[in-house]
Every structure is written in structure tokens, then in C-alpha cells.
Symmetry: C2
Subunit: 344 residues, 2 copies
Amino acid sequence: MASIKDVAAEAGLSVATVSRVLNGHPSVSQDARRRVTAAVERLGYRPNAVARSLRTDQTRTLGLVISDVMNPYFTELARSVEEEARALGYSVIIGNADERPDLQDHHVTTLLDRRIDGLLVSPTDGGSPGMLGAAQAGTPMVFVDRWIPGVDVPVVRSDGRAAVRDLVAHLHGIGHRRLAIIAGPAATTTGRERVDAFREALGAYGLALPDAYVGQGDFQAASGRRVTEGFLDLAEPPEAVFAADNLMALGALDAVRARGLRVPDDIALAAFDDIPWFVHTDPPVTAIAQPTRELGRAAVRALVDRIEGRTGASVTLPARLVVRRSCGEPASPEPPSPVRRSTP
Amino acid sequence: MASIKDVAAEAGLSVATVSRVLNGHPSVSQDARRRVTAAVERLGYRPNAVARSLRTDQTRTLGLVISDVMNPYFTELARSVEEEARALGYSVIIGNADERPDLQDHHVTTLLDRRIDGLLVSPTDGGSPGMLGAAQAGTPMVFVDRWIPGVDVPVVRSDGRAAVRDLVAHLHGIGHRRLAIIAGPAATTTGRERVDAFREALGAYGLALPDAYVGQGDFQAASGRRVTEGFLDLAEPPEAVFAADNLMALGALDAVRARGLRVPDDIALAAFDDIPWFVHTDPPVTAIAQPTRELGRAAVRALVDRIEGRTGASVTLPARLVVRRSCGEPASPEPPSPVRRSTP
DNA sequence: ATCCTCCGTGTAATCGATTCCACGAGGAGG
DNA sequence: CCTCCTCGTGGAATCGATTACACGGAGGAT
């Protein structure tokens, strides 16, 4: 593979001049510029990014460590992150933690070893040693979706509180009173927050959230299935189940169907994180949609701001409720204002 | 960030010795080894992968360029690729081409600039300049899922011919005679092959595949919707529609529902590529499942074989039919042997 | 005519590793 | 006791770029 030396030889100039042409440095003659361009063309030369990175101490690469690529929410997030990064001249290396702290650490160290310019993380847990180290070491960093309390890193996320209130209003309007939740891991902020928001919203209607109605999941379909089976085995099963992510909702759907029961007739179902497939499930699932694309873009912008010496502050965007048919039809007037139906 | 020089100073040894310890070179004394290890520990030193790559001319990184990350099939492929690569000591950088040749080229050049050790591609088209260049330039390369005829690169893919025959047998057994297909882009091998296999299988039953029953899609949901609408507008609409990928099947489902029609009562539907959601759609969708995990693993192994100087041959794995309810219930005996029902 | 500036270019140091080669110490063999 | 190996170690070249500094020539000001 041709190197800058070959180009210099071919153009009859020094490597310094070639480098200057390549980087658009002003003090180069028209003639030199032409000869270099021609030589580059002839040799099919492409600068070695590795060498360049070593010298300039920047890789123009961002690391993105997410909890689970197979989760469509994160896939979409990853996609929008890559898009925005590309627009700003950066590449992205994705690390999939599969909800495992050890894997998350593996990816963080690998990325740091490669000297990425900045790190975008949706932490799987409360803070693995590798990640805290990275934050400490001063690597530009931004949390997205989930974060770690007490770590001084900007957070780009969406606030589901209002949407959860809308959801509870919706369920309450339909007549449901015994509401349960399939929670995410307590080690994640989203895992805890969604339960809190749900409990708070229930409180506004004078409803309690008994321990038996809080099932512990791990954001994977299997746990949704298991927890839902537990709910159905109760002497007094809930009338509605709220899954804290889309995969657990899928598992819940499985469990209900396996019992020969029907959604929403026998039990209502709603999920956090809207995905294209929810329109096509039987029945279409009512969900809380995050502005995923905007989240990804905002996260990249915040990170690049940090990298390039600007401030890069936290961002919180609102989520919204998308009503479909999995909770039943409202008997009384429609739920409060920000609610929208996905099909008119 | 501490460099090898700092470690050498801290340990009171030369950088050469430190490097030897780091790389497990045999001729280093126990004492030196201990001192280096201690110094590394004290400084929290991690070798700079960029510098190492420049010197050794290898990055221990694989590039994976896929057509569409949002397609669950490719997400799963990407995941299994990363898993196997990690097991073999490689990292993976994913490039998402979004079915756009220009984006595909962008990623290929970026990856080559970063001097990845090998490239895994599922080409979007018949061969963009950048990709053909890479193949020519001798970069170790392997095609996965899709490939480009005439380019001398191993191909890891699955053969759907037998499964398509099973599908046609299944449809025929139910009583469907007017069968249509939503094809993928003609520029892709999978786009063409699936139509060919379908036509061939129809032939075995004495059925023709009229042009009006071949709709041109692009592997995206919107095209599935558009093509299906066209089918429904025909004077004699097909009784069954076979979508050449899962996203177009989703679009077809949309279109059918928008007309107030029902699957499978009004029209049968089947898809290539099985995904977890097909179990939960209304109705569950009959699909041809590829051994995605195995495909990813085989592709990585073939590529690493090439990189490390071994042969690395092509691999073809069989796909299989998964019968669900979207084609209706068979009136007569069950379809041929390799067919399985997803729910007993 | 002399001096100063500015411009275009080249030489060489540098980034952080790996690795070839040389060198000194110590042990084995004659 | 001398020679020859082997072993552990360090010095220095190297990978492919960027960039500080030096230098020569042209042109303007005095």
C-alpha cells in the first residue's frame, strides 16, 4: 500500500509538502498542489489513519457502548448516533454489553486502548470499575438513556414521567384499578425510574403499588414471561401490566397467550419504548415512545462539544404515550391532552 | 496517559524490556518481569493500540459492512459476528449502508483507511467501485449473506431453495394456486435468487409466475406496502404473497390491513427471514429461517482463516421453513419432511 | 544597493510501540 | 586459562504521518 513517501517521490517533492497539500495548508504553491494531487491519483493513495492518529493524538472516532443491540430501541439509537457522528466527521465503534457488566468493561477498555476521542455509554449497571476509571481519567464522555448517579458526566435522556402519568390516566379511564409493573434491573436508572414514575402516577389516583405487583425483570423477553406468569398465579392477578421495556412486553405477551388468555380482554398490557412491530402484534401494543433519533443526535452533539472543548450539557427530552388497543377501549371520555392515537 | 517510556522509567529498565514483558517474550528475567508488572500496575498503564498497530501493521480489527442495521436479521448477524470475533481476539467495526451504495463505499473506504485486518461485506449492489477496489487490493475479504458474482471472494450464505420448495408445497397443500412474490433489488444476489427459487418451485407444481405477480421491492417496509397494494388492485389478485425479507412482509401486513382485509382469510402471507416478532404478529407469520448465528460465526472463521494465512473457504448452510398461521390451515396432510411447526 | 519580509519548501524531530543487533556477564567445554 | 555460547538487556531504527524550524529567493521599502 502506497505511503506518503511514495507520493512524495512520485510528485518530486518532500513528504512535508505532500502532507500540507493533503491537509489543505495554505502555504503551498499551485504547482505543488497540482503535482501532489496527480501523484495521489496515480498511486491510489489513501492516508494511513493509524499513523495520523498516532501523531495527532486524535482518532476522530467515538465509542458507543450499549446494553443490548438486539433491542430495537438501542438499534435505532445506535443508528442515529452513527448518522449524526458521520455528519460531524466522526466514525463510531459500537460495543454491545448484552446487559453484562463484564462485557461492558471489556468494551470500554478496548475502546480506550484504541484511543477513541470520546465515549457514549448507556450503562448496564451502577458503575463497573472500567467505566468509572474512564470517567475519572478524563475521557470525554456522555451518558445516553441510562446514567450513573454521582458521576460527573452529562446525561442525554428522555423523561417518561408525564407519559407514564398519561398511561395511568388511560388505564384508569378504562376502568383498571389493579395495575402491576415488570421492572428493569434495579442497578439501572431507567429500571428504577420507571417504577417510581408508575408508583407516583398511581398515587395521584389513590392507588397503591403492592410489592406483589412489582416483578423484577432484566430487560430481556424471558424475564417478562417469568414475571407475568407470577402475576397470573396470584390469587388476585393484576388487571393491567406495564412492562418497563419492549422485550419484556414481548415476553409478557408470550406468557398470557400460553395460558390461553387474551390481551386486552383478560389482562391489559402496555410497554415502555415503542417499536415498529408493536403496530402489528395481536393486539397492537400501547407504548411510551421515546424520541430516539433526537436522543442519539443530542448525545453525539454533546459529546463532540466536549471533545472539541465546548461545554456539552445534559439534555432531557419528553417521551409520549402512543395509545393502541392492548389496554382495551376507554368507556368514558378520552384521557388527558398529550395523548395521541397512532391510528386515527 | 502513561506510555511505555513511563513504565520503563518507573521500572528502571529499557522500553525494549518492557515491550518484551508485555508481549510474553521468553528471554526476560523473572526479576525484570516482576518489576515491569509492578510498574504497569502502579501507573495503570495500557498499551496504545494505535502505536502498536502502526508498528506491527495489524489492527486486530474486522470491518463488517451490512445493508441495514434496523433489519433484525442483520442485527442478529452483526451480533454473532462480534461474538465470534471477540472469541478469536478481534474487534469489529460495523458500517451500516442503509441499502445505499454510496454509503457502503463510504464505510469501506473509512474501514480501509483504518487498516482493518479484514472485511466482511453483505453487498447492497452489484459492486461499487470502492468495494471492488478493496477486493482487488488484496484486503482479506469474505461475503456474507449476499455476494457479488465474478468476484473471487469466499461466500458464507444460506441456501433457501429447499425451504422455498417446502413453502410452495405448504401453500399448494392449503389450496393456493395464484402465488405472488415481493422481490428484493435485482442488484442483490438474494434479491434475484429468491425469485428464481420461487419460480422453480412453482414450476414443479405446474404453476407459472406471471410478471404481474412479481413486485419489485427494495427490502424496506414501504416497498412491501406499495407492492402489495399493487397486487390487491389487480383484476385477479394473488391468493398468497411471499415477501423476500421480513421488513417487506411487515409492509405487506400494513397494506392488507389498511384495506380492511385479513390474513390469511383474504390473502396468505409468508416471509423470508424469521424474526422473534413474527410469533406475535396477527396472525403469526410463516417464514423461512436462516441459521443466522451459524452464518455469522462461519463468516468470521473464514475471514480470520484468510487473515492468518489459511485457506478460508465458502460455506453454504440450509435455511428451513417455519410454519405458522399466516398462510391458513392445511386441508390435506402436512407438507414434506423438513417442515416444522413453531408451536406444537 | 541594502535590508527586511514573506512565501514556498525541505530537514528532522516526534508520536508509542516492536524488534534487530550489539554487548557484557556468566557458564560450559577444552 | 582461554574460547565459545547462551541469556538478559539496552540502543537505535522503524512504521507513516504531522509540524517546528531553517533556509533560499523574490519583492518592497528605504
